[in-house]
Symmetry: C2
């Protein structure tokens, strides 16, 4: 399979959400135009995105909803559930642990770790917060597929190295730091302040254009 | 100014973070190679990104740290502070309200709204959670620059329409829905489950390649 841009993968996720909505409503087929307008893109883009993965639908008849949804779940690796460990039981970690969107999409948080003794032992959503010192012991016994990192920046790389030693190949990183990982490990960094900076950039340049 | 891709703007934010670190350490100049390796990119990319905005640095001497940092702050619209309203006082909203990264970068959460009567009136970080019914009254009196939307999907568009009526031009959206906005309004949507799907996609295709 050709290398596919992350922006394409993101659009596939968005299409899948709408297809599942259509499935739920009992719709049989959907046009690329309908998927495009819901996804904030163009029909040509929808056709191009889907063509990466083979041939779907028939010209003039649209895409068959249940089949396309099923193929997108397959492509996105969503036909299974994932065991996810959360490292960092601060405010953001707490919100993520309780975020229903993860479980709905097949991502089960099965372990929570923190370095703060005042948090260790607390119950969160039926899970006990564990001491991060026990990371190896716990994850060797109960392996995970992914980790969500919500630690302070200063310790994020050290925790990452330990996760990699444990064979973890996918990390969602909320620490405001660029993690160094081997080629076979995928990291996706979410920096919330940086999201606001894309807005401040846009505002600054809107104003400049307007004046 | 030419239209600049969001990925470029994101890299500028990352460069700025490292430059500010260098500033703090008292470094006078930095090479494109050093910025590149910290930012997980190439020197050619760094030079290309910066060249969009004019000519920086001297060949062979690197970039002057304080000047480049200052110009990036200017480009990213970070030479001022922004008044931000948070709509939605759930778990994620609570974490965002207390997220220090926003204030550190110049984004001050100055108002919090929720529709849930059991939340209205509570004190959060020195702010009183207000009834979302009072959105217009409050924001006309104390205008804001940006809104962070953390409402349920079903009400996100209606709240967005009200914010647009109030003249808000920039929205960071955490609701799992595509918002329709006029051309002069910029929306950045963060979908946390979707971030995990970029990882599940990568894992699925890694395994496929390996097998």
């Amino acid at each position: 399979m050709r290398r596919v841009a992350e922006s394409t993968v993101r659009r596939l996720s968005v299409y899948l959400r709408h297809l599942e909505e259509f499935e739920h409503q009992g719709l049989g087929t959907v046009s690329s135009g309908a998927l495009a307008s819901l996804g904030g893109t163009t029909s040509a883009q929808v056709r191009k995105d889907l063509s990466f993965f083979g041939s779907f639908g028939k010209r003039g008849l649209g895409y068959p909803v249940p089949e396309l949804a099923e193929q997108l779940r397959e492509i996105l690796g969503l036909k299974r559930r994932y065991r996810v460990a959360l490292v960092g039981a601060g405010k953001i970690g707490s919100a993520l642990a309780q975020y229903r969107g993860f479980r709905q999409r097949g991502f089960d948080i099965v372990a929570i770790f923190d370095a703060d003794a005042s948090k260790v032992g607390h119950q969160w959503n039926g899970l006990t917060v564990l001491d991060v010192a026990a990371l190896e012991e716990e994850l060797v016994r109960h392996p995970i597929d992914m980790a969500v990192l919500v630690t302070p920046a200063e310790v994020a790389q050290a925790v990452t190295n330990r996760l990699i030693q444990l064979g973890v190949k996918a990390i969602l990183n909320f620490a405001p730091v660029q993690l160094a990982v081997p080629d076979d490990v995928v990291v996706k960094t979410v920096n919330l302040a940086l999201e606001l900076e894309t807005l401040s950039y846009a505002l600054a340049h809107r104003s400049a254009e307007a004046s």
